[in-house]
Amino acid sequence: MSDARSNILSRLRAGKPDIAATAAPTQVPLAKWDPRGRIEQFRGKMESVRAEVHLTPRDSWLALLQRLVDEKQISNLLYAPDGPLGEALSQAWKNRDHSPLICRTEAVDEWKEELFFNVGGAVTTCRWGIAETGTLVLWPTREEPRSFSLVPPVHIAVLEARDIYDTFADLVEKEKWNQGMPTNALLISGPSKTADIEQTLAYGVHGPVELIIIVITDES
């Protein structure tokens, strides 16, 4: 096996083309928006792929979440008790007797059956957003694992408006992604979809059927 490695590398070295690397890369101008335009761009792109975007002031996002859970008749809602929203969610759900919160802190392997077949929806935070393409950026954590945004049929994502960047290029540069990547970084732009049958769009193939985004703004 190490033979394969040295054979491939020595073939490549022997055949290395006599071409210089580009010294001055072509500049591609990056799109820019003001704060209000940024949110509108984000919302427009998200809605074009059938994601729902709801803007809300900080003090009423929980009420909005509960209303959405009721409207969509989500049977139960997976959340991360130790995550950034955990405290607020468990408080808000104290006096509710329907669509209960599900709280699982063990490794997913321990409750995979339930995750796959008995969870109605999951709520997570997002680390950033990208306006240009209408994209959520998640760096799943111990508290909010990767499968939360993947396996349940509905994913509700809570995003701070101030965390929306104009472009992916801007985000990667400003947040210095090259200095340390997480186990898994995810860009999510809409609910799961396919066009594999006659190029006809169908939503909800293997990932969430619905993606709902709550954008918290600091303006009223």
Partner: protein, 472 residues
Amino acid sequence: MQQTVEFHDRADRALHNPQIRSNFRYAMDGLMYKRKLSFPDLDELNRLRLRSAEIRANALVNLPELLEQLERRCNENGIQVHWAESVEEANAIVLGIMNRHNAKLLIKGKSMVSEEMELNRYLEQHGIECLESDLGEYILQLAGEPPSHIVAPAIHKSRQQIAQLFKEKFPEIPYTDDVDTLTRNARQILRRKFYDAPVGLSGVNFAVAETGTICLVENEGNGRMCTTVPPVHIAVTGIEKVVEKLSDIPPLLSILPRSATGQHITTYFNMITSPRKPDEKDGPDEVHLVLLDNGRSRIYRDEELIATLRCIRCGACMNHCPVYTRIGGHAYGTTIPGPIGSILEPQKAGLDRHGDLPTASTLCGACGEVCPVRIPIPELLNRLRFERVRQDHTGVTIGQGSQRNPWEARIWKGWSWMHANPAIYRLSIRIATGLRRLLPKRLGAWTRVRSAPRLAAKSLHTLAREKGFDHE
């Protein structure tokens, strides 16, 4: 020569199949239209193509160093890197991992390299079930067919054909040709498989040397399932897919989905940098990266043909190809069809096997014009047409000179001799114009659908001289 006959037969059959003709025409028209809409600003498109071509070309210039850096970073991150010179070696590596885990089911995300390896057939011979989970690939697996397009694999099938297939394979599910219901049925069937599978496999769109990150582009979520749920994840890739820096990714991600399907971005962009860390609650415990050569390091040695390796597999060249649109993907008989397949596959398997593919082009130039990484596909098609008949055995391409026909070679030799001798040239022109009425009206295949060309009474030279042009 065997393959050559097969290609002509398959192309002929496809051309006479109205279903194939209309399915492809409809699909390619849609894809071309959507691509155009997604690049409203031509200046941006041009800059983005230049930038993307630079990124890919620079990565190739430093390929051996970048592969070593990628391996180093992956090892630091806990991803196990394997090297394979041939598809046999790559298959054996995957089988070895499966056996170590005593795994009998492999769930697969879309991977053209695994098609190149014919991994499914290999593993099935060793008693391991492979299950495609991309909807298009799943449909084809049910039908026992290979993909006919690299981005939309089941594009040659109609909704009714797919509905019929589901009815045959799953008689317990009520018949439907409604796309949403078909999709939902596939979701139910495959969900249990994601849950059960001990090992998941994926391809790689980009591998970042700087951070040791594997990037995957997809819409369905099956790629995320295959790389998140099973305890073991194997990614297979060609050695050319590496890029130098993380900052190279945003331009490539901007141009790839727009070129492919006209989407501004795909639903998921999945960046994997390590297996599950000790305190994490999900994700595979093991991640393997298999780096496959299979002829790529040979293509690498030619300063012109190396551009073939820039490809990011968007499929725009086939979407815009008048030949592909008419004969469809299966006629090519290769893993990758269309213009990029016509330059890549003969270089991989040899011009003796796929020597006809470089001629399956009108050289209209559309493929080169839309290529997001500016591969000069028409020039490379032409170059391979030369390679297939040249006899000096100095190039690197396998099967060089294999399509050489001694008669054709003699005719061209005479042709060039005639053009290098003014007296002979003038004499031949005079004879040709003098005897022009003897040219038969039927010229074989050419005149079946066209009228025969007629020679003019006076040559261009004569006409020009009469008009007063002198030699300069």
